[in-house]
Symmetry: C2
Subunit: 533 residues, 2 copies
């Protein structure tokens, strides 16, 4: 699929071999699609025309292959990797051996993947400019026409009660509504083992998310192992060996994501949320005072020392080489001014700079100088922040509905690009079907001009880490995050909750069958239940 495979244009053609005879009790049938006319498709493509003409997929002979005309093929490991993955999704039980080429039914024998772009992104990283739309210039042996992603193709395949796979003749045109469809995971409040992150990247791809926002460090722990400042994780991680991400761990995660069309945007939040940084980096944090003497505790990053900015420049230079994405997320979240206020050196500095007692000016001072230092080190990187307003993308994640809508209006009215998270704090749980509230929120739902709306680049579902770790993260996230996935991919008019419910139940069972413990939406069952505990 385009979203996953990241080529500027992709055509999937299916070679159909017509049945020559019929021996039986099971003929080409009406598909069993449940209540939605769109079967189990999730997120819903922009245009779908599904017919009732069904074709069988043979477990013996069906294969995903490069079309002859394709500009990319056997040498593209990204593509070959995806073929293997989707072959396994469609035929999860080991493929039958044999040469039984005699077909009993009208059946599909090949899915031809036709890459039409000369400039494939086989070896590159996905970027914010990757074209995820799908155009279909024509057809050849094509019964499934239109541009289809492999994921979408796999979602069209359904199983009868005998386990036989079929697919209906379907026309699809597809492209995402928003370019930034993110998911935030927090590996600081609880350490997330590599395999938890990989499993969730897998599920992200199935839901057409394309940005993994890795909130990698925060107050409680610093699991990022820095080559330049190894003491940061040595002292700041929960454990220096078992609770860290080594450079090769990070590399593996980025590559795993790349193969699925997912960007990895790292967040290193400063100047607040940095308690864990202070353990391994002397003088980085502001010493708090109790009266006239230091209290022994520390506050935000110390904004008045040159060493702070030297450190940030070096640190972010490393980060920019480790994380290939063009964006770095700088956080800028929730700075508590009380420690700064208590510190006499900070007070003196405030007076010198003429900031009076407005500590938000000191915060801005820090951010601007930090960005200047960081930018100097890494040249091309772009920033995401929730406070910094320069050429950055503004991430809106605070407030209630009224407040975030006002903030989206304000940010875009000022000409900044915006990214919404407020309605999608999936760490906040409640009893019952809370996916519906996430599904109903819309990032363009605020008072503004068309030009303002166009500045909305997307959103992010967030799963902050206070109450989740390897034991419960995955079922808590899926299929609730799927609701956000569809909101960010599908047309803005796709908002029929009943239709979504019918598709989501099936999509959830598909995730379960593929090995992800996505929790149930309500009473019921899946044909293939989760096998773990």
């Amino acid at each position: 699929m385009i979203a996953t495979l990241k080529f500027t244009a992709l055509l999937l053609a299916v070679v159909v071999c017509r049945a020559t005879q019929d021996y039986g009790y099971k003929d080409v049938e009406e598909p069993t699609l449940g209540d939605s006319q769109y079967g189990s498709l999730w997120p819903l493509p922009q245009k779908v025309q599904m017919s009732t003409v069904a074709f069988k997929l043979s477990g013996v002979s069906f294969q995903i292959v490069d079309a002859k005309e394709s500009s990319s093929g056997a040498s593209c490991s990204l593509l070959q990797n995806a073929y293997r993955r989707y072959d396994e999704y469609i035929f999860p039980i080991s493929r039958m051996q044999g040469q039984n080429k005699k077909k009993a039914f009208a059946s599909v024998s090949e899915l031809q993947v036709w890459i039409t772009s000369a400039d494939s992104e086989c070896d590159n990283y996905p970027s914010v400019t990757s074209d995820e739309s799908c155009e279909c210039p024509g057809m050849m042996f094509v019964f499934l026409v239109g541009a289809l992603s492999l994921e979408t193709f796999s979602q069209l395949v359904y199983e009868d009660e005998y386990g036989a796979k079929s697919i209906n003749r379907t026309e699809i045109q597809d492209f995402p509504r928003f370019t930034h469809r993110g998911l935030l995971l927090d590996s600081s409040r609880h350490f997330l083992p590599i395999k938890v992150i990989l499993a969730n990247l897998e599920a992200m791809a199935w839901n057409k998310f394309n940005v993994f926002h890795w909130h990698i460090v925060d107050d409680p722990s610093f699991p990022y192992m820095s080559r330049t400042f190894p003491q940061l994780s040595q002292q700041g991680a929960y454990h220096p060996y078992t609770h860290v991400y080594t450079p090769s761990d990070v590399k593996m995660i980025i590559e795993f994501a790349r193969l699925r069309g997912i960007r990895v945007v790292s967040e290193f939040d400063t100047p607040g949320h940095t308690q864990s940084w202070g353990k391994g980096q002397k003088d980085l944090l502001t010493p708090c005072y109790s009266g006239a003497s230091p209290s022994g505790s520390f506050g935000p990053v110390n904004p008045i020392l040159n060493t702070t900015y030297d450190f940030m420049a070096m640190f972010f230079k490393e980060v920019s080489t480790v994380f290939p994405d063009a964006y770095i997320h700088l956080g800028g979240d929730e700075v508590d001014f009380s420690c700064w206020k208590s510190n006499p050196d900070i007070q003196k500095f405030m007076a010198q700079q003429g900031f009076g007692t407005d500590y938000s000016k000191l915060e801005s001072f820090y951010i601007q100088r930090c960005v200047a230092s960081v930018r100097h080190g890494l040249k091309v990187k772009q920033m995401i922040s929730n406070s910094l307003k320069a050429d950055t993308l503004i991430h809106v994640w605070k407030g209630n509905q009224q407040q975030y809508q006002a903030e989206m209006a304000r940010v875009t009215a000022s000409g900044y690009q915006a990214l919404l998270s407020t309605p999608w704090y999936l760490n906040r749980i409640s009893y019952g079907q809370d996916w519906q509230a996430a599904y109903k929120a819309d990032p363009q739902d605020f008072n503004g001009t068309d030009a303002q709306k166009k500045l909305v680049v997307g959103g992010e579902a967030c799963l902050w880490g206070e109450y989740v770790d390897a034991t419960n993260l995955t079922p808590r996230l899926w299929p609730r995050a799927s609701a956000v996935g569809e909101r960010l991919w599908s047309d803005k008019d796709v908002k029929d909750t009943n239709d979504a419910y019918s598709r989501l139940i099936q999509h959830r069972c598909r995730m379960v069958q593929r090995g992800i413990p996505a929790e149930p939406l309500f009473t019921g069952y899946c044909a293939h239940e989760y096998k773990g505990v």
Copy 2:
């Protein structure tokens, strides 16, 4: 442990071998117990006196053995099974081989288990009269004195940063506050695979629960495979092969529970909540009417046909042989009268019986006749119900706090034994540390005399199945159910939430280390994190 091992009296004696030399940098140390003076004990025993004198447990030579004086030993597989289990919990990594008998530290080389009762329950099922208290008549080579369960013993063992195990000299006397400490799982709304049930029985034993209330069938599905009426699951299960409990599955679950001192109380709720029964048993349910003709849908069990009671007698006769426990739970929950009201035959019957329009009289009629039939078939069984008031135990599980307290007062004032569940509906989730609310509820907290309070036999945590299945059940249940476990085991004055929090964090990490994905209580980490996804 008594709660697990089910002997009328048990003594654990520990043979200590004193260190003769010391070669090193690590001597006998103060234990690291966190903030609670009770370390990681959960639920808290009735009396604990923990000293700072620590002894090492050698991974080479430590063993759990039968004391010479024990009335039960090698021939008791229940006991040997428990030894093996707890040896693995204490030394989860494969035991070191070798004969290094030279001790460097004061160390414990044996845990002697001394059964003092002549009548051990090695081959019997635990029952409501099993004595779970622990008396310690004397001591021999005893540094850990007092009666200790194996579980409690294992909770006293702690690990230093080098992985070495130690235990402090500790005196414990223990017995449960309530005899009925139950957990309800619902295998009808979602099918629960055997291994999910077994894993949760395991965790129940660690938390000293002793009753598994198996809400096995309900409206949505009938997974219980009946030998007498195989059509019930054939037609009423979600799937007749993959979503059923065969007789041998049930047997295995009961045996697994027995080895852990857990009773299995089955619930077959009638006359409501029986939609799934109707699929495989013709004429069992009441046909609902729309005007003068049947609507095609069905209501509760049909109370006016003799065949209904014949069926119930035969069905429960089977149930009573399959489930050895003396109690059967009859449900009697939430009967909707609208279908009965619509049916002209029922109306006629109401008139004949002189019930007027009071359908609760019809419900009572059904329940009494049903119980009479059931009792006739199975002679000795006792009943649990939330509506039936005879010699039964009344299960209170509806209403808000005020309502359930009033109901507990009413039930006990009428002289019935009572069982509380209302505050422990663990399926109801909310954001944050909701274990605390469960912890604060107390089943004897209502207006009543001492005699009334004595009629409270305990309570049950309930995890109704609308939103849980194999994907999310276990982390949603643990450690939230642990809060109920302590409330039902420990003294009523054990209610310091801070102390509980400190112990529960450690208890939770212990469950995780033993392989149960118990979810985190808050930001932090375990030395041994969950390995699955």
